[in-house]
């Protein structure tokens, strides 16, 4: 495209499109046009004024939802469940068996541990009995 060719085409199309260019919009189309625009603007302003009220209604609802989700996520019940999930009793027994096989934990130590546990259990029983006796005296 050179400038001369463009000018020729431009002039030719300007001439051909003259009738469309000079066509007038009918009076009927123009009547009340600016009034309608004004009405639309004022309606838009009313909607914009109403919008924050609608928006404010959602604020407490959203706040409650956020707080509820935080409470659920930080709940200790879930922590306990997680702890139980990490170390179930059967897994502990398996681990002891593996350690015993490796020689890290021998039968002697195991027996000692069991004895200690037994002693502790006895202590608990005594304490319980003591408490029971005490409560019986009271």
């Amino acid at each position: 495209m050179d400038d001369k060719k463009f000018k020729e085409m431009d002039q030719s199309l300007m001439k051909k499109m003259e009738s469309l260019r000079e066509q007038k919009v009918s009076e009927g189309m123009l009547r009340g046009f600016s009034t309608s625009v004004e009405r639309r603007i004022s309606m838009g302003a009313q909607v914009a004024e109403r919008r924050p009220v609608g928006g404010l209604l959602w604020v407490p609802v959203l706040a409650v939802m956020v707080m509820a989700s935080v409470v659920v996520l930080r709940s200790p019940v879930q922590d306990i469940q997680l702890a139980q999930a990490v170390a179930p009793a059967s897994d502990m027994e398996d681990e002891i068996a593996v350690l015993a096989e490796l020689g890290v934990l021998d039968e002697f130590e195991d027996a000692e541990l069991l004895a200690e546990d037994g002693a502790l259990l006895d202590e608990n029983i005594e304490l319980t009995q003591g408490r029971a006796g005490f409560s019986a005296l009271v």
């Binding site: 085409m9 300007m14 499109m17 066509q23």
Partner: protein, 196 residues
């Protein structure tokens, strides 16, 4: 600076401070060309009127963004073009749905029916209407950007500088788009008349 531009700037300043009467005066200055351009882009006078109103409302809401370096109508054309583009996209979707669900769009309002409103006699009216139809059909086949540039230049009579300003593209780009659109239009019109 010409008197019209000074008057326009005053009206815009007043409208910015909330004076709706000043904005109405601006609307009255540009309403005809806005409807005219919208009609050329969407091909329906009723829709064109509605879209022109929508463009004015958007212009009012964004008046703070208008820089007085350019003329108000070039800025308005940009808003109008985007409004029409959205409308055409939605209409295309609507037509696709209508096609699938068997409903037909109301095509009774032909865009060219008013082309010959100012004609002196029936023959002239018929010729103008025929030419208008052919032109409008050819314009409608153009991609939106070319259609817009073509409309602004040959139907609205804007200068190349104003089109460049309105579309935010260089004058070289305006010429390139016009050249491509012009070539397509000439080919389409040749086919139209040789095919008869």
């Amino acid at each position: 600076m010409d008197v019209n531009k000074i008057q326009e700037i005053e009206l815009i300043e007043k409208a910015r401070s909330g004076d709706t009467e000043s904005f109405s005066a601006l609307v009255e200055l540009h309403q005809e060309r806005a409807i005219h351009a919208a009609n050329a882009l969407v091909g329906n006078m009723e829709d064109a009127r509605d879209l022109a109103q929508e463009a004015f409302v958007k212009a009012y809401e964004n008046l703070d963004r208008f820089e007085s370096k350019s003329r108000f109508y070039t800025w308005l054309y940009r808003i109008l073009a985007n409004t029409c583009k959205d409308f055409l996209r939605k209409r295309k979707l609507r037509r696709t749905f209508s096609f699938w669900f068997g409903k037909e769009e109301d095509e009774s309002l032909d865009p060219i029916s008013r082309v010959a409103d100012g004609s002196k006699n029936a023959v002239e009216t018929l010729e103008n209407r025929e030419l208008g139809f052919a032109m409008q059909n050819a314009v409608n086949t153009l991609p939106f950007r070319q259609k817009l540039v073509f409309t602004l230049r040959y139907i609205e009579g804007l200068s190349l500088e104003d089109i460049s300003d309105s579309m935010n593209i260089t004058i070289g780009a305006v010429k390139a788009n016009l050249w491509q659109a012009g070539q397509k239009m000439q080919n389409l019109l040749k086919e139209e008349y040789h095919g008869r």
